[in-house]
Symmetry: C2
Subunit: 284 residues, 2 copies
């Protein structure tokens, strides 16, 4: 098994990157908040297929959590994550301290207005500003050729694509499919918060999305499918819905008429855990 480098400072990281660049290798980056699961590892697999040197960043980014969210509680199993990375053939894990990433006086942020204000942005108003800022910072630290994100965070990957395009960031973005448990639950680091009962309740999200795809394929209108999805979720005990809708996958605008790329998105709370999930609606 190849050696796995673990670095904590930007200087150490830059030194390694510089050596890798001199060898002419293409760098792949998988930015994560740790608590790695099979979804993350599928991103690593994609990175290994497409690039020569795979860097996983592990950083629970405080600026993307709201004041009453789960920043403190978010799982941080670093040793386990490092072992998973080693087994997966990752070349380097970058796991900086908060003070390294945000030294005193840090103030600059990157914002994608419009796209950051809808859906998740309604419920987490400063979330995406935190996401785009940390992702740009990580790109500037890692200088990857390609970066890999999961489709589960659909709005996030779209915002990152827009940011990269708008700011001419020289990184290619890949979005990899959501991985699911055998019963359909989208993999998420936050699933560990769920009690066994909540774990069952949480299946409502993927079921509602699957129904939406089926109903759309059966010819029902988008308005009907959306309504049906919302009704289904409203009837699930223990599910507190934030939103369930169908939008244009390129603009995130709610649609009633079909467009080439459509996505159904759900956010809901189960107990104290907030979950999101989405599925692309195949064109009729």
């Amino acid at each position: 098994m190849a050696e796995l480098l673990c670095v904590q400072t930007v200087e150490q990281l830059r030194e390694q990157i510089s050596a890798v660049r001199k060898r002419g290798l293409r760098i792949g980056c998988v930015p994560t908040m740790g608590a790695l699961h099979a979804g993350h590892l599928s991103l690593v697999e994609a990175a290994k297929r497409e690039t020569d040197f795979v860097i996983v960043t592990v950083f629970v980014n405080p600026t993307q959590f709201g004041p009453n969210e789960d920043f403190t509680r978010y799982p941080r199993p670093l040793e386990k994550d490092v072992n998973l990375c080693r087994q997966a053939g990752v070349d380097l894990v970058f796991h900086p301290e908060v003070e390294t990433v945000y030294p005193a006086g840090s103030a600059t942020y990157v914002e994608v207005p419009g796209l950051s204000a809808v859906l998740e942005g309604v419920y987490r108003p400063t979330h995406f500003r935190g996401v785009t800022t940390i992702v740009l910072k990580l790109f500037n630290m890692v200088l990857p050729d390609v970066a890999f994100f999961g489709a589960k965070d659909f709005q996030q990957q779209l915002l990152i694509r827009h940011m990269v395009h708008d700011l001419n960031v020289p990184v290619e973005i890949r979005t990899c499919p959501t991985l699911r448990e055998p019963d359909g639950l989208a993999m998420s680091s936050r699933n560990v918060y769920l009690s066994p009962d909540e774990r069952q309740t949480a299946l409502a999200l993927s079921r509602a999305l699957k129904r939406a795809c089926e109903e759309s394929a059966a010819g029902r209108s988008l308005a009907e499918v959306r309504h049906s999805m919302q009704q289904f979720l409203a009837q699930q005990p223990g599910v507190k819905l934030d939103y369930a809708t169908i939008v244009d996958a390129t603009t995130l605008r709610e649609i009633d008429e079909p467009v080439p790329q459509m996505v159904a998105l759900i956010a809901a709370r189960v107990g104290t855990t907030r979950l999101i999930d989405n599925m692309l609606i195949p064109p009729a």
Copy 2:
């Protein structure tokens, strides 16, 4: 005389940069809005001393102009600029179209709160957002090792330093001294707007700054020096003062007690032309 490359598209630019990088050359970048004067050329000289391949960008950036400012009127003597660059030994001029830099749908911006809201930010509320965004975009296009800015735009260079630091942008920033006409007027592309009479009136700015340095050296308090500078400018016919103050050069906070780095800054209108100037106040 070495060949001067002129490119207009990001693709052409990236192709050239890639070839330069392969030769192991260090890239210096001088971002400008064109209408080059000796101040710009001193930045080119600094870039030539420190780097191997000097790129001048010429782009009148619409997003840093307010709705009632001089975007349309701003001088655009491209052929003259290219000739000046050729004579100065610049290696590449990048002069993109507005549509190349801001394709339809561009929305992302970079903001440095706090520092962007004071001084110029009071009179030009969206100016620095436009500046930091375009500079980051140009850095991502040019991928320079070092970038050179003039001290005349004091707040601008400070904001860019903060942005680069906060976002981990892998570019070193150099700030080069303001160049002045023999009579003291700070060189500026906007000086061409001045009538001969206004040109004389405009000398009040550099004179007020010089007096401030002298009075401070003579032991007067910063509050006295500031007041004297404001009084002097208020008495100059044809000068409409926006601000004249002394601030901490690292935080832009107005100061009454000396700090290690202090700068006196003035913004004023002479006729329809808005001028800025500044001088570092030597510590007592």
